[in-house]
């Protein structure tokens, strides 16, 4: 089979798996967030944490919960790293330095999982399991909570209550993330992913040389790293490392895990708002853009243009032979489209166009199909802006899913959309003014600029993948990227929850022939067009000096 057909079949199998999971998982998620019943374990948790699971919260309380939880998460994760020296299973890896600890704490709590450290050298197993794995779960859970709260805003009418954040978070962890993670963790071990509590093993090679190979409790974290669109590797090589991603089919499973919740959430959305077509429409936008960016990356990697890649005879720098070009492109397109940030190839070594595609995929504001929860609410706020403009063009005060889009709704959506470009542009603009900036880059020229742009794009979008040639261990980067992650995460979240509150308080307007239909191909292309236009208009000047200049060279 040729590379092309093998790659296409691989994509076909992936799509089939996603299609198979779409309905059951989407419906299950809808039930999780609408069920009146509490599981025994959950009731126990509510008793321990002393909350009334049956009381609804206003958006302010919900937001206070999200912020409060995230705050204590950052503090605890920071402390855990700083106290690593006294923790068991640290293998002599001492306290993490303050800047890195702050950056890492923020990074994992914001679902970014950007890593400015080398895990094999910096993080012991306790920090990995008790600290990082937990945040892999709960930060993903928070994203879904916020998305569901927004959907409730559309569904409910004449109420200020948008759900209970503690119930939502507990349920998503206990009923969804934990069971799926457990099953797939075992499957990954069967595929060769390590799950060891030792720090490594020593071998004497056939050439007589001694080597120590690092080990870690990888499988349990690997699953949730993908499933929760987190992306922080337990090894520095991330999913390129053979112990995280040993073979072709584990690669496919990891890509499947990355995509399955963001994709299925559109079904959940459709079920909850009472029109599955609404969900299909959003999914088609996500899917089309995902496919487009995948095609760009795949084509670019198969047709490299850089002088080095041409000399080598193929764009294999930074790629694993067991995945090939197609398997690497598929992973790159999926990880950047979902705010995951796990990588199975070094993105910095992607071609100009391929790397630019990965970057742009993030700059679409992470909705192709986006992170768990974040993808859904990101595309919903974009849809609100699209509906607003299109709604005007049909001569009515725009309404989406029966809710009118007035000043408050547009303001919230606009703020949610504004945060990311502002952080990326300001962050990379200021960074490029730093005197020592060139020294932090592995590459120079247009690609060097791409490294900086990618760093802030990744942090602000809570992606976490990197053009890792950029040395980000200086305090400036650690601090500003940390801030970019924080604001990139919580500004949209606050705006979205405010939006949810405003929508829930509205009465519901029944649709009529004069209402803009928010389903079907035309609306889908409208939303897709808005996504592309907003990203293109915002970032084209910057991209022109980075990836575009490199790609056209």
């Amino acid at each position: 089979m040729s590379d092309l057909w093998a790659g296409l079949s691989q994509i076909g199998v992936l799509l089939l798996c996603l299609a198979a999971a779409y309905k059951p998982l989407g419906d299950y998620l809808a039930r999780v967030f609408t069920s009146e019943r509490h599981w025994k374990l959950e009731s126990g948790i509510y008793r321990v944490i002393r909350v009334d699971p049956d009381s609804g919260q206003r958006w302010t309380t919900y937001a206070a919960g999200v912020l409060g939880f995230s705050f204590v998460s950052i503090v605890l994760l920071y402390l855990l790293q700083r106290l690593q020296a006294i923790l068991p299973l640290n293998f002599g890896r001492g306290a993490v330095d303050p800047a890195t600890a702050f950056n890492t704490a923020v990074s994992f709590v914001t679902n970014t999982n950007w890593q400015s450290y080398t895990p094999e050298e910096a993080m012991g197993h306790v920090v990995q399991m008790v600290g990082l794995t937990v945040q892999n779960f709960v930060s993903a859970g928070m994203g879904i909570c916020v998305a569901i709260a927004l959907v409730r805003g559309f569904v409910r009418a004449n109420t200020g209550r948008i759900g209970n954040v503690w119930v939502d978070l507990t349920r998503i962890c206990v009923r969804v993330l934990l069971p799926i993670s457990f099953v797939f963790a075992i499957l990954l071990v069967a595929g060769g992913v390590v799950m060891s509590l030792s720090s490594g093993f020593t071998s004497t090679g056939i050439d007589g040389m001694q080597h120590t190979t690092a080990l870690a409790p990888a499988a349990s974290q690997e699953v949730i790293k993908e499933l929760g669109t987190n992306g922080g590797g337990i090894f520095n090589g991330n999913s390129a490392h053979p112990f995280e991603n040993p073979q072709g089919w584990t690669n496919l499973i990891e890509i499947f895990l990355i995509l399955v919740i963001p994709v299925s959430l559109t079904r959940t959305f459709g079920v909850l708002v009472g029109s599955r077509k609404q969900g299909y429409t959003l999914l088609s936008v996500m899917g089309a853009l995902w496919g487009l960016m995948l095609a760009v990356i795949w084509w670019a990697e198969s047709h490299p243009n850089g002088p080095a890649a041409l000399l080598a005879g193929g764009a294999m720098e930074g790629k694993e032979s067991r995945f090939g070009i197609a398997g690497s492109a598929l992973f790159a397109g999926s990880t950047t489209g979902t705010s995951t940030g796990a990588v199975n190839a070094a993105h910095d070594s992607l071609t100009g166009l391929g790397g630019g595609g990965a970057l742009l995929n993030m700059l679409f504001a992470e909705l192709t199909p986006g992170g768990v929860g974040t993808g859904l609410y990101s595309i919903l706020v974009i849809a609100i802006i699209a509906v607003f403009l299109a709604g005007l063009m049909v001569g009515r005060t725009p309404e989406y899913l029966g809710k009118k889009l007035g000043r408050r709704e547009v303001t919230c959506s606009a703020i949610a959309i504004l945060a990311m470009p502002a952080l990326v542009l300001l962050g990379s603009g200021i960074a490029l003014l730093l005197p020592g900036i060139r020294a932090t880059m592995t590459n120079s020229g247009a690609h060097g600029l791409s490294e900086v742009l990618y760093a802030y794009g990744s942090a602000s979008n809570n992606n976490g993948s990197a053009f890792a040639g950029l040395t980000v261990t200086n305090d400036w980067f650690e601090a500003t990227l940390g801030v970019a992650m924080l604001f990139g995460r919580f500004v949209p979240i606050l705006a979205v929850l405010r939006l949810a509150g405003a929508l829930a308080a509205q009465r519901k307007t029944p649709p009529s022939a004069g209402t803009l239909p928010t389903q079907g191909p035309m609306f889908a292309s409208l939303v897709g067009g808005t996504v592309v236009l907003v990203a293109a208009l915002t970032f084209v000047p910057a991209l022109a000096l980075g990836p575009i200049a490199e790609a056209l060279a």
Binding site: R407, R507, P517, P541
Partner: protein
Amino acid sequence: MTITKTPEPEVEPVQANEKPVARAFGPAQIAKAVPDAVGRLGPRHQLRNPVLFVVWIGSVLVTVFAIGQLITGSGQPGFSIAVALWLWFTVFFANVAEAVAEGRGKAQAESLRRTKKDTVAHKLAEDGSVTEISGTDLDIGDHVVVEAGQAIPGDGDVIEGIATVDESAITGESAPVIRESGGDRSSVTGGTTVLSDRIVVRITTKPGESFVDKMIGLVEGASRQKTPNEVALTILLSVLTIIFLLAVLALQPMAAYSGSQQSVVTLTALLVCLIPTTIGALLSAIGIAGMDRLVRRNVLAMSGRAVEAAGDVDTLLLDKTGTITFGNRQATELIAFGDEQALAEAARLSSLADETPEGRSIVDLCVQRYGLAAEAGEAEQDGEFVPFTARTRMSGIDLGARQVRKGATAAVCAWVTEHGGTVPDMTQACVDTISAQGGTPLLCAELVHGRAVVRGVIRLSDVVKPGMRERFAELRAMGIRTVMITGDNPLTAKAIAEEAGVDDFLAEATPEDKLALISQEQEGGRLVAMTGDGTNDAPALAKADVGVAMNTGTAAAKEAGNMVDLDSDPTKLIEIVRIGKQLLITRGALTTFSVANDLAKYFAILPAMFAGIYPQLGKLNIMHLASPTSAILSAVVFNALIIIGLIPLALRGVSYRAVSATKLLRRNLLVYGLGGVITPFVCIWLIDLVIGRLIGA
């Protein structure tokens, strides 16, 4: 917005039902707007519009740089001056748009002001004595006497007498109207003139808050506030502006890193081209023009919010009588029990002297269908007319021995029996059928040779105005549900509702029912529009999202509604809805166009900026623009000229057809979205041809 008085305002007579002028915008209007537009170039005026404020700052910045370059002789002062000039033009053109839009309102306000000349009021004391005081000293509740030839000193209700009034000062309609005490035609407006008779008016508004004062404020735009939708759009535009501001700010360090630091002039040019200047410049003009379009149709919206709400209306409550049907019932059919011609003759005869509309419609029918004479013949003129009375409940004519009667079934039956005739069995069935179908049956009988004979039945029906069905279908396509309100019984109402093609009806409606219906619709999340004139309509008018009061109506009704129709034409509601929709569509279309333009501007400016350091970016210069300077200048020039180019559209409004939302969107996306992408490519290329040659020469 600040209103600066134009030195010589154009005074145009206000025409009733004036059609939108095709040339809403021409050299004459611009010439008039220029002084105004220049006066608005200061920063204070621009602060109100975030997009234009950024342009203004940019203009100042570039001007300062251009002057600096001129003095020091560095850089490209020629290029900088050209950019500065065109940036100022951009601000100026935006001001022109606004000034032109306001200019029309001002003209009308001026003519209204002239009606506000100081009037003398003849105040009537309780003891019947009359004192002469100034119109401005009147209080609410005062009674004034107005006689023929006098101007009515203030808004109020007629409480005594009947008079013809010339209201042309307000409505533009020269035919005098009748105002009388009691009923729904009691309202008079200050500044109008009594032509005949004498009336006593109870003043209902304070001087200075009168209807004319309100009108002046409205048409002038002095009391114009941003509507909710306009505010939302402004926020969106501001956010876009912020994003582009950041994009351009961040570009400089990136350019510097790449080894090609950009001049302030170039960066400002890029920024101004990217931010949504087109819609930013035209936004307020669109709003003013929308109000103006209503005024031209003699509708006064008390707030822009009401106009917007009109576009959103889901449910339209329409009174049956006068709106859907002609005011009176008309004869539509003759059902003969024997000789049809004989029935026609009898019917005609009985109605010849009947001056009621019903009577006249019977004659008309006989003339049209049976070829009978419209006027009474010589022999017939001698006949003795028997008028309708509440007691007899019939009317007719006695021509010697020949007696003809028509009237209520029971009355005519009694008359027939009394005169020795028999009522055919089929009579009752026939009458019941007509009633069931919503008509009114009139039995027609004749006394021939001493014996009464029932000739047949005349069917009187409500006649639906022509074209109503199509209009309702149109409304349905727009997503608007029409509900007919009538005092008729459900059976009658249903028949007419079906004939007219309304979606629903409310029969035997009382004002309370109307109010309840509105509440019910609103609770379902629908926006309701209605018209009304009577005092008992006032609560419903106030409750409705769009309440259009008829100018003929009572002061209470006019106070309660948020629009007043000076022509008192209830079908105008449909027109109002269209204008509301058109207003929103124009905003949306121009925003889309404005944003879509940016694509071409990138293709013009980015290669111009960076092809020097990255020659490969020259591939993006797909328009093959002559040089970097001409490329940037062309984009800036296009950006300014497109504002002028779109002013007519902003004033006229995007053309609107009543089709489903999907079709409408597809069309507008194609025209303004795709058109917005393509147009600038062509225009910038053309402008560059000119500029490139100029620079090259």
